[in-house]
């Protein structure tokens, strides 16, 4: 770039004391805004929560509690990574489960065909997820919103078909059985680690230039391009990052379950769950996906023990209700409120 240095230092146009007045109003406003909006408080809460989660297993949780926790962590990882492509760039990936399946099958195939030990295969899952995202994303991310969404659903179904059809390679509908790693505590920490990294990554992303560029793409792609943002690169980056994280989680889940087949690795319910949890929490917000995943799983575990067709009906109705009553999700609605309160207070101050 030709000139990155501040050449416009102090042009005298607006009277400087005006800016000073405005500045002095800032602390009052910050105080008035919701307490949760204070980043230090949020960081503190996060650290405390994390510390609690780190020591919890030491107090002898039983296996089912450990599994519940690691399920929540896993979903936080999935929803937060889905949010990067679907929420931040606005390209809603309706077939994101394809990466989960790719991760699981990467693990399964490497273990069975090359007889690799489990943990050696872990790095391969995100790599394959990344490559798949690159190959599929390059043509498909040129499509406008809805077309992209459905084309990804197509990719998801196509990969499931391939996993079913190439029986000799993938085991077909019979699936692949691994040697089981039955260590709930281990998976508790593994999924906790993934969730923390993805959530912190999202926090960083939202403040970064890349994150602003993604939001700009969501709002007005042509305008973003005119501002010098290579929108193709931004979209591809978001997609590849989201895809590789999901593939990683898919492979970890496969180890935890010790069995994969096309029906469970490429399951439709995963797509519904992702959409529902993130919408519930707040699509495109930083904390919404994690919040939605936690609330949803805890609710499901405590209130409903449904399966099969009841489960489908329940999810469908929940999705419809959430879309119609809470389109911005919990986090989105809260943020709106904070903003409104702030604006109101600012208005009062000015009228004084």
């Amino acid at each position: 770039m030709s000139s990155g240095t501040p050449t416009v230092s102090t042009p005298g146009a607006p009277p400087p004391q005006k800016a000073a007045q405005r500045l002095s109003a800032a602390p009052v406003r910050a105080l008035a805004a919701s307490r949760l909006a204070d980043p230090r408080l949020r960081a503190g809460l996060f650290a405390a929560g994390l510390a609690a989660l780190l020591v919890t297993p030491l107090f002898g949780l039983n296996n089912s509690a450990l599994l519940l926790f690691s399920t929540v962590f896993m979903w936080i990882g999935l929803t937060s990574s889905w949010n990067i492509i679907s929420g931040f760039t606005g390209y809603v990936d309706f077939g994101h489960g394809v990466f989960f399946g790719i991760g699981g099958y990467t693990a399964g195939l490497l273990v069975t065909h090359l007889e690799m030990p489990f943990w050696y295969t872990v790095p391969f899952a995100p790599v394959f997820g990344f490559v798949f995202a690159l190959v599929v994303g390059y043509p498909l991310l040129r499509l406008r919103g809805v077309y992209f969404s459905i084309a990804m659903l197509g990719a998801f179904m196509a990969m499931r078909e391939l996993a079913l059809v190439f029986r000799d390679f993938t085991g077909g509908s019979g699936g692949i059985i691994f040697e089981a790693v039955i260590d709930r505590t281990l998976f508790y920490y593994v999924f906790l680690g993934v969730a923390v990294i993805v959530v912190l990554g999202t926090v960083w992303l939202r403040r970064s230039q890349l994150g602003s560029s993604m939001l700009a793409v969501r709002e007005n792609e042509i305008g973003a391009e005119a501002r010098g943002i290579n929108t193709t690169m931004v979209k591809l980056t978001a997609f590849c990052v989201a895809g590789s994280i999901t593939a990683l989680i898919g492979s970890l889940w496969a180890y935890q379950t010790a069995f994969i087949d096309p029906a469970i690795m490429f399951r439709d319910v995963l797509l519904i769950n992702l959409a529902l949890m993130v919408t519930l929490g707040g699509l495109g917000t930083v904390w919404g996906p994690a919040l939605g995943a936690t609330v949803f799983i805890l609710l499901r575990e405590t209130l409903w023990e449904t399966e099969g067709e009841d489960f489908l009906v329940f999810f469908g109705v929940a999705l419809i209700v959430v879309v119609l009553t809470l389109p911005k999700g919990i986090a989105g609605s809260l943020a709106d409120r904070v903003h409104l309160a702030r604006a109101r207070r600012a208005g009062k101050e000015e009228s004084r």
Partner: protein, 246 residues
Amino acid sequence: MTALLTAERVTCRFGGLVALDAVDFHVDAGEIVGLIGPNGSGKSTLLSCLSAGRRADDGRIRLDGKDITGRRPSTVARLGLTRTFQDARVFGELTVTENALLSRDWTRLPSFGLLRSPERAARERAAGLLDLVGLGGMAREKAGSLSGGQQRLLELVMAIMPGPKVVMLDEATSGVNPALIAELSEHLRLLHREENVAFVIVEHNVGFVFGMADRIVVLQQGRVLAEGPPDEVKSNQEVIDAYLGA
């Protein structure tokens, strides 16, 4: 010396309608060019073709000796040719500062505070420019909450931020209050001096554009009707008939 930005025989059609008919256009380094013409004469279309937002059906466009025909709009912007839109396009969900900083290069790796100087330089520059146009106090507001006129000013900042060689403004004064228009022309002059930016100003506010420009280009029905210093164009009978009126 060759011009900084040259367009040769740029043609653009919408179906049967010829919006630009082999238009030749150039901007010299540091020049202020006024582009005027009746509604629908092709001014905005010319800006789109120059900034690669729309692919010209024919013609060549060169910036600083480099052929930029058919490049991506983002590439053209990074090479130093930016624009604003007739319908201000700011990003309502980002804060004013985030909007201003949008043209930073995100592919640069994050430095996590170790190598802060380019980042800090960009922030200071953004703050300086926002202060200049009077948006300094709203830096942390969402751009969507700005008024129409303020959004235009923000878009101007966004176009200036990367330190371009040429900035093209599509009706920068529309929706800006009269007192601020005078201020705006001051700002533009200041930027012009300090950064040596060339401006292309598309305007219906005749007083503003004739006061600012070194040279005026008049478009009519996709062709260049007249071109020259403001005084000469002002007294050109054809221009009076087609656009300025008696």
